[in-house]
Symmetry: C2
Subunit: 312 residues, 2 copies
Protein backbone atom coordinates (compact mmCIF):
# COMPACT_ATOMS: atom_id res chain seq x y z
CA UNK A 1 0.00 0.00 0.00
CA UNK A 2 1.25 3.53 -0.74
CA UNK A 3 2.04 5.98 2.05
CA UNK A 4 -0.83 8.21 0.87
CA UNK A 5 -3.22 5.32 1.49
CA UNK A 6 -2.07 4.73 5.06
CA UNK A 7 -1.81 8.41 6.09
CA UNK A 8 0.66 10.18 8.34
CA UNK A 9 -0.40 8.77 11.70
CA UNK A 10 -0.92 5.24 10.39
CA UNK A 11 2.58 5.32 8.95
CA UNK A 12 4.14 6.64 12.14
CA UNK A 13 2.38 3.85 14.09
CA UNK A 14 3.68 1.22 11.65
CA UNK A 15 7.23 2.48 11.80
CA UNK A 16 7.47 3.01 15.57
CA UNK A 17 6.01 -0.47 16.17
CA UNK A 18 9.14 -1.90 14.49
CA UNK A 19 11.66 -0.04 16.65
CA UNK A 20 13.23 -1.13 19.91
CA UNK A 21 14.65 1.07 22.63
CA UNK A 22 17.90 0.83 24.56
CA UNK A 23 18.63 1.99 28.11
CA UNK A 24 19.49 5.55 26.97
CA UNK A 25 15.84 6.11 26.00
CA UNK A 26 13.92 7.61 28.93
CA UNK A 27 10.86 8.42 26.77
CA UNK A 28 10.53 7.08 23.23
CA UNK A 29 8.46 8.14 20.21
CA UNK A 30 4.77 9.04 20.43
CA UNK A 31 4.81 12.25 22.41
CA UNK A 32 5.70 15.85 21.47
CA UNK A 33 9.35 15.00 22.12
CA UNK A 34 11.55 12.17 23.35
CA UNK A 35 13.74 12.21 26.45
CA UNK A 36 17.25 10.76 26.17
CA UNK A 37 19.86 10.16 28.87
CA UNK A 38 22.82 12.58 28.86
CA UNK A 39 24.84 11.10 31.73
CA UNK A 40 27.61 13.70 31.94
CA UNK A 41 25.25 16.70 31.60
CA UNK A 42 26.29 17.35 27.99
CA UNK A 43 24.93 16.02 24.72
CA UNK A 44 26.69 15.70 21.38
CA UNK A 45 24.36 16.57 18.48
CA UNK A 46 24.73 16.50 14.70
CA UNK A 47 22.49 16.41 11.65
CA UNK A 48 22.99 15.14 8.09
CA UNK A 49 20.49 14.99 5.27
CA UNK A 50 20.33 12.55 2.33
CA UNK A 51 18.46 13.58 -0.82
CA UNK A 52 17.37 11.07 -3.45
CA UNK A 53 19.31 11.39 -6.68
CA UNK A 54 22.14 13.19 -4.91
CA UNK A 55 23.07 10.95 -1.97
CA UNK A 56 21.26 7.75 -2.90
CA UNK A 57 19.28 6.11 -5.67
CA UNK A 58 16.48 3.65 -5.06
CA UNK A 59 17.65 1.54 -8.03
CA UNK A 60 21.19 1.31 -6.63
CA UNK A 61 20.42 0.27 -3.07
CA UNK A 62 17.51 -1.22 -1.17
CA UNK A 63 15.65 0.61 1.62
CA UNK A 64 17.39 -1.31 4.40
CA UNK A 65 20.84 -0.25 3.14
CA UNK A 66 19.70 3.32 2.52
CA UNK A 67 18.45 3.43 6.12
CA UNK A 68 21.77 2.09 7.38
CA UNK A 69 23.69 4.67 5.37
CA UNK A 70 21.52 7.56 6.57
CA UNK A 71 22.09 6.44 10.16
CA UNK A 72 25.81 5.78 9.61
CA UNK A 73 26.49 9.25 8.20
CA UNK A 74 25.25 10.72 11.48
CA UNK A 75 26.50 8.12 13.95
CA UNK A 76 30.00 8.50 12.45
CA UNK A 77 29.91 12.24 13.19
CA UNK A 78 29.15 11.46 16.84
CA UNK A 79 32.00 8.92 16.98
CA UNK A 80 34.34 11.50 15.41
CA UNK A 81 33.87 13.72 18.49
CA UNK A 82 34.99 10.79 20.67
CA UNK A 83 31.44 10.12 21.83
CA UNK A 84 29.13 7.12 21.99
CA UNK A 85 25.87 7.52 20.00
CA UNK A 86 22.71 7.36 22.10
CA UNK A 87 19.78 8.32 19.85
CA UNK A 88 18.59 9.17 16.35
CA UNK A 89 15.71 11.39 15.22
CA UNK A 90 14.53 11.03 11.63
CA UNK A 91 12.60 13.50 9.46
CA UNK A 92 11.34 11.68 6.37
CA UNK A 93 9.94 13.38 3.27
CA UNK A 94 8.30 10.85 1.00
CA UNK A 95 6.58 10.94 -2.40
CA UNK A 96 2.99 9.78 -2.03
CA UNK A 97 3.44 6.72 -4.25
CA UNK A 98 6.20 5.18 -2.13
CA UNK A 99 5.21 1.80 -0.78
CA UNK A 100 4.80 1.45 3.00
CA UNK A 101 6.85 -1.76 2.87
CA UNK A 102 9.78 0.24 1.46
CA UNK A 103 9.49 2.70 4.34
CA UNK A 104 9.26 -0.06 6.93
CA UNK A 105 12.51 -1.54 5.61
CA UNK A 106 14.10 1.91 5.66
CA UNK A 107 13.10 2.21 9.32
CA UNK A 108 14.50 -1.26 9.99
CA UNK A 109 17.83 -0.21 8.43
CA UNK A 110 17.97 2.96 10.51
CA UNK A 111 17.11 1.00 13.64
CA UNK A 112 19.63 -1.76 12.91
CA UNK A 113 22.56 0.61 12.36
CA UNK A 114 21.64 2.49 15.56
CA UNK A 115 21.21 -0.70 17.58
CA UNK A 116 24.67 -1.87 16.48
CA UNK A 117 26.18 0.95 18.54
CA UNK A 118 23.67 0.87 21.41
CA UNK A 119 21.61 3.79 20.11
CA UNK A 120 17.86 3.94 19.37
CA UNK A 121 15.56 5.83 17.00
CA UNK A 122 13.66 7.97 19.52
CA UNK A 123 11.64 10.31 17.35
CA UNK A 124 10.79 11.55 13.94
CA UNK A 125 8.47 13.32 11.60
CA UNK A 126 7.02 12.42 8.22
CA UNK A 127 5.66 14.48 5.39
CA UNK A 128 4.73 13.97 1.80
CA UNK A 129 7.14 15.63 -0.64
CA UNK A 130 7.98 15.32 -4.35
CA UNK A 131 11.60 14.56 -3.30
CA UNK A 132 12.47 11.60 -1.09
CA UNK A 133 14.63 13.09 1.66
CA UNK A 134 15.99 11.60 4.89
CA UNK A 135 17.19 14.09 7.51
CA UNK A 136 18.73 12.41 10.53
CA UNK A 137 19.91 13.91 13.81
CA UNK A 138 22.20 11.86 16.05
CA UNK A 139 22.84 12.44 19.76
CA UNK A 140 25.76 11.10 21.75
CA UNK A 141 27.42 10.81 25.13
CA UNK A 142 31.02 11.93 25.78
CA UNK A 143 31.25 9.89 28.97
CA UNK A 144 33.03 12.68 30.82
CA UNK A 145 35.72 13.11 28.14
CA UNK A 146 36.46 16.35 26.30
CA UNK A 147 35.13 16.44 22.74
CA UNK A 148 37.86 15.82 20.17
CA UNK A 149 37.48 18.68 17.70
CA UNK A 150 39.16 19.35 14.35
CA UNK A 151 41.19 22.14 15.85
CA UNK A 152 43.73 20.46 18.14
CA UNK A 153 46.31 18.94 15.75
CA UNK A 154 49.88 20.05 16.56
CA UNK A 155 53.08 19.98 14.48
CA UNK A 156 54.83 16.66 15.10
CA UNK A 157 51.59 14.74 15.77
CA UNK A 158 51.11 11.53 13.88
CA UNK A 159 48.10 11.18 11.61
CA UNK A 160 46.17 7.92 11.79
CA UNK A 161 43.16 6.35 10.13
CA UNK A 162 40.55 3.89 11.38
CA UNK A 163 38.40 2.24 8.76
CA UNK A 164 38.75 2.25 5.02
CA UNK A 165 38.62 4.89 2.31
CA UNK A 166 37.90 4.72 -1.40
CA UNK A 167 35.66 1.67 -1.30
CA UNK A 168 32.36 3.58 -1.38
CA UNK A 169 33.64 5.99 -4.04
CA UNK A 170 34.80 3.04 -6.17
CA UNK A 171 31.40 1.38 -5.70
CA UNK A 172 29.69 4.61 -6.70
CA UNK A 173 31.80 4.85 -9.88
CA UNK A 174 31.10 1.21 -10.72
CA UNK A 175 27.33 1.76 -10.34
CA UNK A 176 27.50 5.05 -12.28
CA UNK A 177 29.00 3.21 -15.24
CA UNK A 178 26.16 0.71 -15.18
CA UNK A 179 27.99 -2.23 -13.53
CA UNK A 180 26.92 -4.17 -10.43
CA UNK A 181 30.31 -5.76 -9.59
CA UNK A 182 32.87 -6.06 -8.01
CA UNK A 183 30.51 -6.89 -5.19
CA UNK A 184 32.97 -5.77 -2.49
CA UNK A 185 32.96 -2.19 -3.83
CA UNK A 186 29.24 -2.01 -4.61
CA UNK A 187 28.40 -3.35 -1.14
CA UNK A 188 30.77 -0.81 0.43
CA UNK A 189 28.88 1.98 -1.33
CA UNK A 190 25.54 0.56 -0.27
CA UNK A 191 26.43 -0.03 3.34
CA UNK A 192 29.46 1.67 4.92
CA UNK A 193 31.36 -0.22 7.61
CA UNK A 194 32.06 2.49 10.13
CA UNK A 195 34.66 1.89 12.90
CA UNK A 196 32.44 3.53 15.55
CA UNK A 197 34.28 2.28 18.68
CA UNK A 198 37.53 3.76 17.29
CA UNK A 199 36.15 7.26 18.04
CA UNK A 200 35.86 7.01 21.83
CA UNK A 201 39.00 4.84 21.79
CA UNK A 202 40.97 7.65 20.12
CA UNK A 203 39.63 10.14 22.67
CA UNK A 204 40.82 7.92 25.53
CA UNK A 205 44.25 7.59 23.82
CA UNK A 206 44.62 11.37 23.83
CA UNK A 207 43.79 12.16 20.18
CA UNK A 208 44.47 15.86 19.58
CA UNK A 209 42.05 16.20 16.63
CA UNK A 210 39.58 13.92 14.85
CA UNK A 211 37.28 14.08 11.83
CA UNK A 212 34.79 11.81 10.07
CA UNK A 213 35.93 11.18 6.48
CA UNK A 214 32.73 11.80 4.54
CA UNK A 215 33.77 14.26 1.81
CA UNK A 216 37.04 12.51 1.02
CA UNK A 217 40.27 12.16 3.03
CA UNK A 218 42.06 15.12 1.41
CA UNK A 219 39.03 17.41 1.67
CA UNK A 220 38.33 16.47 5.29
CA UNK A 221 41.98 16.73 6.33
CA UNK A 222 42.01 20.17 4.73
CA UNK A 223 39.21 21.12 7.16
CA UNK A 224 41.32 19.76 10.02
CA UNK A 225 44.52 21.49 8.86
CA UNK A 226 42.69 24.81 8.55
CA UNK A 227 40.93 24.51 11.92
CA UNK A 228 44.18 23.49 13.64
CA UNK A 229 46.43 25.98 11.82
CA UNK A 230 48.85 23.26 10.69
CA UNK A 231 50.02 21.40 7.59
CA UNK A 232 49.24 17.72 7.12
CA UNK A 233 51.22 15.32 4.93
CA UNK A 234 49.88 11.92 3.91
CA UNK A 235 52.21 9.02 3.03
CA UNK A 236 50.96 7.45 -0.18
CA UNK A 237 52.66 4.19 0.80
CA UNK A 238 50.29 3.87 3.75
CA UNK A 239 47.53 3.07 1.28
CA UNK A 240 47.45 -0.26 -0.42
CA UNK A 241 45.19 -0.67 -3.42
CA UNK A 242 43.12 -3.82 -2.79
CA UNK A 243 42.96 -6.21 -5.78
CA UNK A 244 39.28 -5.65 -6.59
CA UNK A 245 39.81 -1.89 -6.53
CA UNK A 246 42.92 -2.20 -8.73
CA UNK A 247 41.01 -4.29 -11.28
CA UNK A 248 37.99 -1.96 -11.29
CA UNK A 249 40.24 1.10 -11.63
CA UNK A 250 42.01 -0.48 -14.59
CA UNK A 251 38.75 -1.51 -16.27
CA UNK A 252 37.21 1.96 -15.79
CA UNK A 253 40.36 3.99 -16.49
CA UNK A 254 40.45 5.60 -13.04
CA UNK A 255 43.43 6.33 -10.76
CA UNK A 256 42.66 4.19 -7.67
CA UNK A 257 44.40 6.78 -5.48
CA UNK A 258 41.72 9.26 -6.46
CA UNK A 259 39.28 6.88 -4.76
CA UNK A 260 41.52 6.19 -1.76
CA UNK A 261 42.53 9.80 -1.10
CA UNK A 262 39.54 11.79 -2.36
CA UNK A 263 36.55 9.43 -2.15
CA UNK A 264 34.03 10.01 0.61
CA UNK A 265 31.16 8.07 2.20
CA UNK A 266 33.10 5.20 3.81
CA UNK A 267 33.01 7.20 7.06
CA UNK A 268 36.50 6.30 8.17
CA UNK A 269 37.82 8.29 11.14
CA UNK A 270 41.03 10.31 10.79
CA UNK A 271 42.74 11.49 13.96
CA UNK A 272 46.00 13.03 15.10
CA UNK A 273 47.88 11.77 18.16
CA UNK A 274 50.92 12.90 20.14
CA UNK A 275 54.04 11.51 18.38
CA UNK A 276 54.82 8.77 20.91
CA UNK A 277 51.30 7.28 20.96
CA UNK A 278 51.22 3.49 20.49
CA UNK A 279 48.33 2.95 18.11
CA UNK A 280 46.03 0.07 19.02
CA UNK A 281 44.72 -2.38 16.39
CA UNK A 282 42.17 -0.69 14.15
CA UNK A 283 44.23 2.51 13.85
CA UNK A 284 47.13 2.81 11.40
CA UNK A 285 49.57 5.66 10.86
CA UNK A 286 49.12 7.38 7.49
CA UNK A 287 51.02 10.67 7.86
CA UNK A 288 52.33 13.54 9.93
CA UNK A 289 51.32 16.99 11.11
CA UNK A 290 53.79 19.81 10.40
CA UNK A 291 54.16 23.56 10.72
CA UNK A 292 52.44 25.35 7.84
CA UNK A 293 49.12 24.97 6.07
CA UNK A 294 47.35 22.74 3.57
CA UNK A 295 47.40 19.02 2.87
CA UNK A 296 50.03 17.25 0.78
CA UNK A 297 50.74 13.67 -0.33
CA UNK A 298 54.42 12.71 0.04
CA UNK A 299 55.19 16.41 0.37
CA UNK A 300 53.49 17.47 -2.87
CA UNK A 301 49.98 18.71 -3.72
CA UNK A 302 47.70 15.89 -4.92
CA UNK A 303 46.67 16.40 -8.53
CA UNK A 304 43.50 14.28 -8.54
CA UNK A 305 39.98 15.42 -7.67
CA UNK A 306 39.74 17.19 -4.33
CA UNK A 307 36.46 16.10 -2.79
CA UNK A 308 32.77 16.53 -2.81
CA UNK A 309 30.61 19.67 -2.61
CA UNK A 310 26.87 19.08 -2.45
CA UNK A 311 26.13 22.15 -4.58
CA UNK A 312 28.68 21.47 -7.33
CA UNK B 1 24.10 35.14 -5.92
CA UNK B 2 22.55 31.66 -6.12
CA UNK B 3 23.46 28.91 -3.66
CA UNK B 4 25.02 26.91 -6.50
CA UNK B 5 27.42 29.81 -7.12
CA UNK B 6 28.59 29.99 -3.50
CA UNK B 7 28.89 26.23 -2.90
CA UNK B 8 28.14 24.15 0.18
CA UNK B 9 31.00 25.26 2.42
CA UNK B 10 30.77 28.93 1.43
CA UNK B 11 27.07 28.84 2.29
CA UNK B 12 27.64 27.18 5.64
CA UNK B 13 30.28 29.83 6.47
CA UNK B 14 27.89 32.63 5.52
CA UNK B 15 25.06 31.23 7.59
CA UNK B 16 27.04 30.33 10.71
CA UNK B 17 28.69 33.77 10.69
CA UNK B 18 25.21 35.27 11.30
CA UNK B 19 24.38 33.13 14.33
CA UNK B 20 25.05 33.83 17.98
CA UNK B 21 25.44 31.33 20.79
CA UNK B 22 23.93 31.27 24.26
CA UNK B 23 25.38 29.74 27.43
CA UNK B 24 23.91 26.28 26.67
CA UNK B 25 26.29 25.94 23.69
CA UNK B 26 29.51 24.22 24.78
CA UNK B 27 30.70 23.73 21.17
CA UNK B 28 28.94 25.43 18.26
CA UNK B 29 28.82 24.73 14.51
CA UNK B 30 31.91 23.94 12.44
CA UNK B 31 32.93 20.53 13.74
CA UNK B 32 31.55 17.03 13.15
CA UNK B 33 28.99 17.67 15.90
CA UNK B 34 28.02 20.31 18.45
CA UNK B 35 28.06 19.90 22.22
CA UNK B 36 25.10 21.26 24.20
CA UNK B 37 24.58 21.50 27.96
CA UNK B 38 22.10 19.00 29.45
CA UNK B 39 22.20 20.14 33.08
CA UNK B 40 19.99 17.44 34.61
CA UNK B 41 21.61 14.57 32.66
CA UNK B 42 18.63 14.26 30.31
CA UNK B 43 17.86 15.93 27.01
CA UNK B 44 14.48 16.50 25.38
CA UNK B 45 14.65 16.01 21.59
CA UNK B 46 12.14 16.43 18.79
CA UNK B 47 12.18 16.90 15.03
CA UNK B 48 9.73 18.50 12.58
CA UNK B 49 10.10 19.01 8.85
CA UNK B 50 8.60 21.75 6.64
CA UNK B 51 8.23 21.08 2.91
CA UNK B 52 7.65 23.88 0.41
CA UNK B 53 4.16 23.82 -1.09
CA UNK B 54 2.86 21.77 1.83
CA UNK B 55 3.91 23.67 4.96
CA UNK B 56 4.92 27.01 3.46
CA UNK B 57 4.97 28.98 0.23
CA UNK B 58 7.66 31.45 -0.68
CA UNK B 59 5.06 33.80 -2.18
CA UNK B 60 3.01 33.78 1.04
CA UNK B 61 5.74 34.48 3.57
CA UNK B 62 9.27 35.88 3.53
CA UNK B 63 12.35 33.83 4.51
CA UNK B 64 12.64 35.40 7.97
CA UNK B 65 9.07 34.37 8.86
CA UNK B 66 9.52 30.90 7.33
CA UNK B 67 12.62 30.50 9.49
CA UNK B 68 10.73 31.61 12.59
CA UNK B 69 7.90 29.17 11.83
CA UNK B 70 10.27 26.25 11.25
CA UNK B 71 11.95 26.98 14.58
CA UNK B 72 8.64 27.58 16.38
CA UNK B 73 7.14 24.24 15.30
CA UNK B 74 10.03 22.49 17.07
CA UNK B 75 10.54 24.80 20.05
CA UNK B 76 6.82 24.45 20.85
CA UNK B 77 7.20 20.66 21.02
CA UNK B 78 9.98 21.10 23.59
CA UNK B 79 7.84 23.53 25.63
CA UNK B 80 4.94 21.03 25.48
CA UNK B 81 7.06 18.55 27.47
CA UNK B 82 7.51 21.21 30.16
CA UNK B 83 11.09 21.87 29.07
CA UNK B 84 13.15 24.93 28.14
CA UNK B 85 14.60 24.82 24.62
CA UNK B 86 18.42 24.87 24.45
CA UNK B 87 19.43 24.23 20.84
CA UNK B 88 18.32 23.76 17.24
CA UNK B 89 19.90 21.76 14.42
CA UNK B 90 18.78 22.51 10.88
CA UNK B 91 18.99 20.33 7.75
CA UNK B 92 18.26 22.50 4.72
CA UNK B 93 17.52 21.15 1.24
CA UNK B 94 17.60 23.95 -1.29
CA UNK B 95 17.01 24.26 -5.05
CA UNK B 96 20.18 25.49 -6.75
CA UNK B 97 18.60 28.74 -7.95
CA UNK B 98 17.66 29.97 -4.47
CA UNK B 99 19.37 33.24 -3.63
CA UNK B 100 21.91 33.22 -0.80
CA UNK B 101 20.27 36.36 0.62
CA UNK B 102 17.02 34.40 0.98
CA UNK B 103 18.88 31.67 2.90
CA UNK B 104 20.65 34.18 5.13
CA UNK B 105 17.30 35.67 6.10
CA UNK B 106 15.93 32.18 6.74
CA UNK B 107 18.88 31.56 9.07
CA UNK B 108 18.24 34.89 10.78
CA UNK B 109 14.60 33.89 11.34
CA UNK B 110 15.59 30.53 12.79
CA UNK B 111 18.19 32.20 15.00
CA UNK B 112 15.81 34.94 16.16
CA UNK B 113 13.04 32.54 17.19
CA UNK B 114 15.60 30.39 19.05
CA UNK B 115 17.24 33.38 20.75
CA UNK B 116 13.82 34.54 22.00
CA UNK B 117 13.71 31.48 24.26
CA UNK B 118 17.42 31.38 25.10
CA UNK B 119 18.25 28.66 22.57
CA UNK B 120 20.84 28.69 19.75
CA UNK B 121 21.26 27.12 16.34
CA UNK B 122 24.22 24.80 17.02
CA UNK B 123 24.51 22.75 13.86
CA UNK B 124 23.14 21.88 10.50
CA UNK B 125 23.59 20.44 7.08
CA UNK B 126 22.82 21.70 3.61
CA UNK B 127 22.20 19.98 0.31
CA UNK B 128 20.89 20.89 -3.07
CA UNK B 129 17.44 19.39 -3.78
CA UNK B 130 14.60 20.03 -6.22
CA UNK B 131 12.29 20.57 -3.20
CA UNK B 132 12.97 23.27 -0.61
CA UNK B 133 12.80 21.45 2.72
CA UNK B 134 13.63 22.57 6.25
CA UNK B 135 14.11 19.79 8.82
CA UNK B 136 14.69 21.10 12.32
CA UNK B 137 15.61 19.26 15.50
CA UNK B 138 15.14 21.00 18.85
CA UNK B 139 16.77 20.04 22.14
CA UNK B 140 15.60 21.08 25.59
CA UNK B 141 16.25 21.01 29.32
CA UNK B 142 13.69 19.70 31.82
CA UNK B 143 15.42 21.41 34.75
CA UNK B 144 14.97 18.39 37.00
CA UNK B 145 11.21 18.16 36.37
CA UNK B 146 9.43 15.09 35.01
CA UNK B 147 8.43 15.39 31.35
CA UNK B 148 4.73 16.19 30.94
CA UNK B 149 3.52 13.59 28.45
CA UNK B 150 0.18 13.20 26.68
CA UNK B 151 -0.68 10.22 28.80
CA UNK B 152 -1.36 11.58 32.30
CA UNK B 153 -4.79 13.24 32.03
CA UNK B 154 -7.25 11.93 34.67
CA UNK B 155 -11.04 12.12 34.85
CA UNK B 156 -12.00 15.29 36.73
CA UNK B 157 -8.93 17.25 35.55
CA UNK B 158 -9.55 20.64 34.06
CA UNK B 159 -8.43 21.31 30.50
CA UNK B 160 -6.66 24.60 29.85
CA UNK B 161 -5.14 26.41 26.91
CA UNK B 162 -2.20 28.81 26.62
CA UNK B 163 -1.96 30.81 23.43
CA UNK B 164 -4.42 31.14 20.62
CA UNK B 165 -5.99 28.79 18.09
CA UNK B 166 -7.57 29.34 14.69
CA UNK B 167 -5.60 32.44 13.77
CA UNK B 168 -3.03 30.66 11.60
CA UNK B 169 -5.70 28.50 9.95
CA UNK B 170 -7.80 31.59 9.21
CA UNK B 171 -4.71 33.31 7.77
CA UNK B 172 -4.02 30.24 5.64
CA UNK B 173 -7.60 30.25 4.30
CA UNK B 174 -7.41 33.97 3.57
CA UNK B 175 -4.14 33.53 1.62
CA UNK B 176 -5.52 30.43 -0.17
CA UNK B 177 -8.42 32.51 -1.50
CA UNK B 178 -5.99 35.10 -2.86
CA UNK B 179 -6.43 37.78 -0.17
CA UNK B 180 -3.70 39.45 1.91
CA UNK B 181 -5.89 40.82 4.72
CA UNK B 182 -7.04 40.88 7.53
CA UNK B 183 -3.45 41.52 8.48
CA UNK B 184 -3.90 40.03 11.99
CA UNK B 185 -4.78 36.62 10.55
CA UNK B 186 -2.22 36.63 7.73
CA UNK B 187 0.53 37.65 10.15
CA UNK B 188 -0.56 34.89 12.55
CA UNK B 189 -0.14 32.36 9.75
CA UNK B 190 3.25 33.77 8.79
CA UNK B 191 4.65 33.96 12.29
CA UNK B 192 3.06 32.03 15.16
CA UNK B 193 3.16 33.58 18.63
CA UNK B 194 3.99 30.60 20.79
CA UNK B 195 3.52 30.84 24.57
CA UNK B 196 6.81 29.02 25.27
CA UNK B 197 7.18 29.89 28.99
CA UNK B 198 3.69 28.46 29.63
CA UNK B 199 5.15 24.95 29.08
CA UNK B 200 7.62 24.84 31.99
CA UNK B 201 5.10 26.91 34.01
CA UNK B 202 2.45 24.21 33.54
CA UNK B 203 4.95 21.52 34.55
CA UNK B 204 5.73 23.41 37.78
CA UNK B 205 1.97 23.80 38.43
CA UNK B 206 1.54 20.03 38.30
CA UNK B 207 0.06 19.64 34.80
CA UNK B 208 -0.97 15.99 34.34
CA UNK B 209 -0.74 16.02 30.51
CA UNK B 210 0.28 18.54 27.86
CA UNK B 211 0.40 18.75 24.07
CA UNK B 212 1.45 21.27 21.42
CA UNK B 213 -1.55 22.21 19.26
CA UNK B 214 -0.12 21.88 15.76
CA UNK B 215 -2.63 19.66 13.93
CA UNK B 216 -5.70 21.41 15.39
CA UNK B 217 -7.13 21.44 18.92
CA UNK B 218 -9.60 18.58 18.36
CA UNK B 219 -7.06 16.38 16.58
CA UNK B 220 -4.36 16.98 19.18
CA UNK B 221 -6.73 16.49 22.13
CA UNK B 222 -7.77 13.23 20.50
CA UNK B 223 -4.12 12.13 20.74
CA UNK B 224 -4.12 13.15 24.40
CA UNK B 225 -7.44 11.43 25.18
CA UNK B 226 -6.24 8.22 23.52
CA UNK B 227 -2.83 8.25 25.25
CA UNK B 228 -4.44 8.99 28.64
CA UNK B 229 -7.40 6.62 28.24
CA UNK B 230 -9.93 9.37 29.01
CA UNK B 231 -12.65 11.48 27.39
CA UNK B 232 -12.17 15.21 26.91
CA UNK B 233 -14.98 17.72 26.54
CA UNK B 234 -14.38 21.26 25.28
CA UNK B 235 -16.70 24.15 26.21
CA UNK B 236 -17.50 26.06 23.04
CA UNK B 237 -18.21 29.16 25.16
CA UNK B 238 -14.57 29.27 26.19
CA UNK B 239 -13.76 30.40 22.66
CA UNK B 240 -14.60 33.88 21.57
CA UNK B 241 -14.50 34.67 17.88
CA UNK B 242 -12.37 37.80 17.48
CA UNK B 243 -13.91 40.49 15.23
CA UNK B 244 -11.38 40.12 12.36
CA UNK B 245 -11.92 36.37 12.35
CA UNK B 246 -15.71 36.77 12.43
CA UNK B 247 -15.60 39.17 9.47
CA UNK B 248 -13.23 36.96 7.47
CA UNK B 249 -15.34 33.89 8.20
CA UNK B 250 -18.46 35.69 7.02
CA UNK B 251 -16.77 36.98 3.85
CA UNK B 252 -15.35 33.54 3.00
CA UNK B 253 -18.38 31.49 4.08
CA UNK B 254 -16.48 29.55 6.75
CA UNK B 255 -17.58 28.49 10.24
CA UNK B 256 -15.10 30.34 12.50
CA UNK B 257 -15.29 27.48 15.02
CA UNK B 258 -13.76 25.20 12.40
CA UNK B 259 -10.72 27.49 12.58
CA UNK B 260 -10.76 27.78 16.38
CA UNK B 261 -11.29 24.10 17.14
CA UNK B 262 -9.67 22.34 14.18
CA UNK B 263 -7.06 24.79 12.86
CA UNK B 264 -3.40 24.01 13.52
CA UNK B 265 -0.10 25.87 13.32
CA UNK B 266 -0.62 28.50 16.03
CA UNK B 267 1.27 26.20 18.40
CA UNK B 268 -0.88 26.87 21.44
CA UNK B 269 -0.28 24.56 24.40
CA UNK B 270 -3.14 22.47 25.79
CA UNK B 271 -2.72 20.94 29.23
CA UNK B 272 -4.74 19.19 31.91
CA UNK B 273 -4.43 20.09 35.59
CA UNK B 274 -5.77 18.67 38.87
CA UNK B 275 -9.29 20.12 39.40
CA UNK B 276 -8.36 22.57 42.17
CA UNK B 277 -5.43 24.17 40.30
CA UNK B 278 -5.54 27.98 40.24
CA UNK B 279 -4.56 28.84 36.69
CA UNK B 280 -2.06 31.70 36.35
CA UNK B 281 -2.48 34.44 33.71
CA UNK B 282 -1.79 33.05 30.25
CA UNK B 283 -3.70 29.84 30.91
CA UNK B 284 -7.49 29.68 30.61
CA UNK B 285 -9.88 26.81 31.31
CA UNK B 286 -11.53 25.44 28.15
CA UNK B 287 -12.95 22.10 29.23
CA UNK B 288 -12.91 18.99 31.39
CA UNK B 289 -11.50 15.47 31.43
CA UNK B 290 -14.01 12.66 32.02
CA UNK B 291 -14.24 8.89 32.11
CA UNK B 292 -14.58 7.46 28.61
CA UNK B 293 -12.90 8.10 25.27
CA UNK B 294 -12.85 10.62 22.46
CA UNK B 295 -13.20 14.38 22.28
CA UNK B 296 -16.50 16.28 22.31
CA UNK B 297 -17.61 19.89 22.17
CA UNK B 298 -20.34 20.70 24.72
CA UNK B 299 -20.89 16.95 25.07
CA UNK B 300 -21.41 16.30 21.34
CA UNK B 301 -19.12 15.25 18.48
CA UNK B 302 -17.90 18.25 16.47
CA UNK B 303 -19.17 18.14 12.91
CA UNK B 304 -16.56 20.37 11.26
CA UNK B 305 -13.22 19.29 9.80
CA UNK B 306 -11.14 17.22 12.18
CA UNK B 307 -7.53 18.25 11.61
CA UNK B 308 -4.54 17.94 9.40
CA UNK B 309 -2.82 14.87 7.98
CA UNK B 310 0.34 15.55 5.99
CA UNK B 311 -0.41 12.76 3.54
CA UNK B 312 -4.05 13.67 2.85
Amino acid sequence: MSVAGVGEFGLIDRVTARLSYGPTVLLGPGDDAAVVAAPDARVVATTDVLVEGRHFRRDWAGPHDIGRRAAAANLADVAAMGAEPTALLVALCVPEDVDTGWLEQLADGLGAEAAGVGASVVGGDMSASPTLTIAVTALGNLGGRSPVTRAGARPGDLLALAGRTGYAAAGFTVLSRGFRTPRLLVEAYRRPEVPYPAGPQAARLGATAMIDVSDGLLADLRHMAKASGVAIDIARDAFEVPPQMRDAAQALGVDPYAWLLAGGDDHALAATFPPATALPPGWRAIGRVAVGSGVTVDGRPFDGPAGWDHFR
